[in-house]
Point group: C2
Chain length 156, copies 2
């Protein structure tokens, strides 16, 4: 923890595999404060803090937004707090798991609608009938008598 260990933001960014703007943005969000500020305002980081950046990145890859990450790792945990940290991480991950599941469901539903729409379009492509003047929804279809899927009502 000697002064030797302190490096400026440029070197730290390289070390942590990121860039200046991102580090300053993290600081702005309260995610990672530089260990020291010089009188002139320069940021000085500990090399070891690169691990903190790695952790932030890891949690980002798991899909957590930076705000949530701050809630988890915003306060530098002491050694004894390891259990508490694990708790926080676990709760956040579980919560995020639910969100992710919901998001997946929504996208799968969208996928289903897309397939239906494409199937219907395939039918329509070989159809010569133009919709009647009073039924430009083609609903029900003049050929098959089927109703159109929701997502394509207005195509005709």
């Amino acid at each position: 923890m000697s002064k030797q260990d302190l490096i400026k933001i440029g070197e730290f960014a390289t070390l942590a595999g990121t860039n200046l703007r991102t580090l300053r943005y993290y600081e702005e969000l309260g995610l990672l404060k530089p260990t020291l500020r010089s009188d002139g305002g320069f940021r000085y980081y500990r090399r070891a803090s690169a691990q903190r950046v790695a952790m932030i990145r890891d949690l980002q890859e798991l899909g957590l937004p930076l705000e949530r990450i701050r809630e988890i790792v915003g306060i530098q945990p002491k050694d004894g707090d390891r259990t508490a940290l694990l708790q926080r991480v676990r709760r956040a991950l579980e919560e995020h798991q639910l969100l992710l599941a919901a998001h997946l469901d929504a996208l799968k539903a969208q996928q289903g609608r897309l397939e239906t729409a494409l199937a219907k379009l395939k039918d329509c492509s070989c159809c010569d009938e133009l919709p009647a003047a009073d039924n430009n929804f083609c609903d029900p279809c003049g050929s098959t008598g089927e109703c159109l899927p929701e997502g394509l009502r207005a195509l005709f």
Copy 2:
């Protein structure tokens, strides 16, 4: 198509099931222009144009961004262009299907990482060992000897 048919934006919004801001936004994007502008600047729409809004909404529900939708329906198709329109829609939907699939894969991968991370966390919760001073990644784990999943390297 007489002047009787032209309505102002408020009534049109109600008819189309949307609101003023959205309609003006659609116009800004080139999705739907009012049929007429009064000398004072008021927008006048045809009732029939509500179908166009419906179509935009339908394509939105299929997940297409408004920019793509504009590319599809940006130009008012004439009757004879139905085939061409169907083609454009089909191509756009197929393209979007690919994007959606990729998106789904990414989310599923995220889900997998989440599960792995949570499983590992469960192990760690019952672990009393603190990481050695020279290995604050707990990697490999002092208890099980297993390596940590990518997403949690920096937790320790």
